[in-house]
Amino acid sequence: MIKKNIPKERRIILKYADDPGYSNKMNCYLKNGGYKMLKKAIKMKPDEIGEEVLKSGVRGRGGAGFPAGMKWKFLDRKSGKPIYLICNADESEPGTFKDRQIMYKDPHQLIEGMMIAAYAIQAKQAFIYIRAEFFEGARILEEAIAEAKAKKFCGDKILGSSYSCDLIVHRGAGAYICGEETGLIESLEGKRPNPRIKPPYFPAVLGLYQCPTIVNNVETLCNVKHIMQMGGEAFSKIGKPNNTGTRIWCVSGHVKKPGYYEFECGALTLGEMIYDICGGLLPGRTLKAVIPGGSSSKVLRADERFTGKLKDGTEFDWGIDDIPLDFDGPASVGSMSGSGGIIVMDDTVDMVEAMANINAFYAHESCGQCTPCREGSLWMRKITKRMCSGDARKEDADLLLSVANQIEGRTICAFGEAASWPTQSFIAKFRGEFQDKAKHGSSKPKLQLI
């Protein structure tokens, strides 16, 4: 038997996080070369940093994968209004737990990255919007910021320069929708986190308090520090073109070693991740499906064949194991890498039950502002819940699909897609299971139309 070449982790962001003895305290961070990049950055021209970030090609790690340098370019600098930087630490996508590691174990890396970013966009004020459930994380960040302020790494006259930027930790109140950037901004303003309509409320022009605002994910902002360290050019060589840098993948579900793993983009395939890195499935189980990028990405069936053309023109013919883990890999098979939350499901999973679980989440988290998502998400939950309690009908699969189609593309924010993609893909790929539910007949008296 040929010994397989198992891909190795390349830790940039989580380089020290899990080292024995490494703590989230300032002295530990400084010992490992911390804040050197901020010192370097503060002597540069802000635009130069922006150029480096653009050159690096780093894409947003929050889910949409939009190039961060480009986002900064869109910033309206001529308005004369103050500019704000917000770190989106509302990590709530089911299956995702990467930002938590950074904030809990290496908060100073985030602070350094943020202050470099704040300086680059000349932000007047920076915020970390952290989800309510991370109360320990908020405490750690508060402590770290106090330490950083004492050493002049943030706050007034950073490192003796003329640039000042305060950093504030704001805790959410427990809502998934606050991860949507305009919802987050509304929440930060003290309102209900109803996402704003775009146009006209693009954060880079009319963001927090109607001022130009940049909202970046925790991992993205940490990357800014490393882009400073190695230069945009060198950073862009990590990974693959258009998929630069490393990504932290969060694997959960029916594997032997679930957890978070940092790899260069495209360094390994989904199969290698499941079987080589995570130790494979539990004994006696077979792979049934994988959700590759957090619960809102479309599910992939284990026995599917994916064919098509990549952006660079090369044709591919992949099984589920062959999908490269980067931004474009999952996207080219009709799903997305999203927030990097890989959910593995084996043959013990009842797909209708799984669907019911996901639908329950979205129905609970819909903000209720716009009609399709508000009514559609709850309706889908009611259908799948009924199906799981023995009252499935043969037309339910089609109905679910139709409801999901009525949501997609018609909502104010991307939550509509997040809520409808799972249903669309579950029905498309596991229609049989949904129809089988109806075969067993109802355990209860026939439903009455209300």
Binding site: R192, T371, R410, I450
Partner: protein, 568 residues
Amino acid sequence: MISNGKPSTINIILDGKEVEVPAGINLVEAAGIHGTEVPHYCYHPQLSVAGNCRMCLVEMGTPMRDRATGEAVLDENGIQKIGWVPKPVIGCGTNVSPGMHVKTKSSMVTESREGIMEFLLVNHPLDCPICDQAGECRLQEFATDYGRGYSRYVERKNVKPKRTKLGPRVTLDDERCILCSRCIRFCQEVVDDDVLGFVDRGSFSTLTCFPGKELSNNYSLNTVDLCPVGALTSTDFRFKMRVWFLKESPSICVESSAGSNILVSSREGKIHRITPRRNDSVNDSWMTDSGRVLYKKVSSDSRLLSASVSGNASSLTEAISAASEMFKDKKLGVVGSCKSSVEEQYLLNKLSKNLKAKKFLRGHFGKDDGILLSADRTPNLRGNLVTGFSNKYPSDQLSDLSISIQKKQVNALLVIGEDLSESGVDLEDLKSIPIVFLGTHQNATADFSDVVIPTLTSFEKSGSFINRSFRLQSFKQAIPGPVGLLPDLHVIASLINALCEDAEQSSDLASIWKQMSKSRTNPLHGLIFSKIPGDGLQLDGSKWNSLPFIEKKAMHFSPLKQLQKSKI
């Protein structure tokens, strides 16, 4: 946007047809101008855009341009390609741009509307038979126009609070609420009384008042009009009348000089409610709660229903001839009214002039609320200026009347509606002289008048008022007056004919206007009553600039002096 006095226009392609629309407006309005309805719930032309109902989704595309060079991208026929947005866009939140293509009837749009309608109805109670909104419900209308016509929903509907009292005048049924947020935006943006909000989330979102607050501002009933469904209902009107039985007559609110445009809804001669009528130059789509209850005075117990002479009931003709007998060879004093119509004031002025009577006028004043309740609590003070009944600003007293009586300059009195006892006039003085009272309601003056001639309320007659911005607005009779009563115009005309030599005064509105509009120096010059537009006519009031008008800056109103300053 304004050049050569005309708003600039652009061309868009609406459902394949090139049409001209004003620049800068949104797609709902643009389509509306050309007779294409884009259904919507949350959008309201006088509130901010929320974009949450998603009913106004349309397909939109713009002429394609190369991103790098900015040049037009052409197809094989040399025509500029259209970059269609792959998803439907909201009509309310999308503004027109030159060359924009809009489809309002494509399959994508039809399907979107069907989907949204279905979603809106899944948790909406189907209680139209007992719902007050039935008949004027957008949900009903659009469900028939754009819905599928059947339901696929077999689950249980959400349960929410019913019959919540949001305030003294508004009752809420949360189950019917479609969460369009119009009422919330109205309270925030128009009244600046932020009391409404949503609690809970998702489909369980519920409209409510913030803790410890209630919807009690004087504009609360506008939320009922704004509500596209039967969620917010008027506690006063609830369950009283089916709206399809109501006849709607355009009228003007008589509460104050703001002159809000209103619709009077009546059935078989009985008024059931008053609602605002849109006029973007006066009251937008709003009116005060206090103005809505004025119809109750029509059938109040103190309403004067029959004429009387010396305390004995008489016919109207007898009372009129008794009055004219009384005034013969007397030094007549006429107490006019700021509540009379322009036409009535004109005739009264004519009568006074012919009989060389002394004219008196008082105002009724309160506090400005900065919106639609002005400090001048009469609808037509400016009518007295324009018709020449008075040339000075009235005080809220009639002290000069007492003096005139004491000096024997006046020894008979014709009073239009005013209560002299509340106007600083000594009642002892009045006892010595004959008084004729024309009015709609009983008051102390009516009680001791020698002749009482009952007249009609503004709902029962036609005429015009001039509001605080010198805007002439006409109102039409909504309901018939009480049996046997005649319009004030008829009564005054009869007095003129009886008392003035050779007078042949008609009480017909058209002929009164013919007389009124003759004078070239009068702002009414050349106007014809029937030609006054529905939204009124701006008069030139600069002649009276120097008068101390009491109204402060408010909705669509700046005091004259300020107005002129800003023009310079």
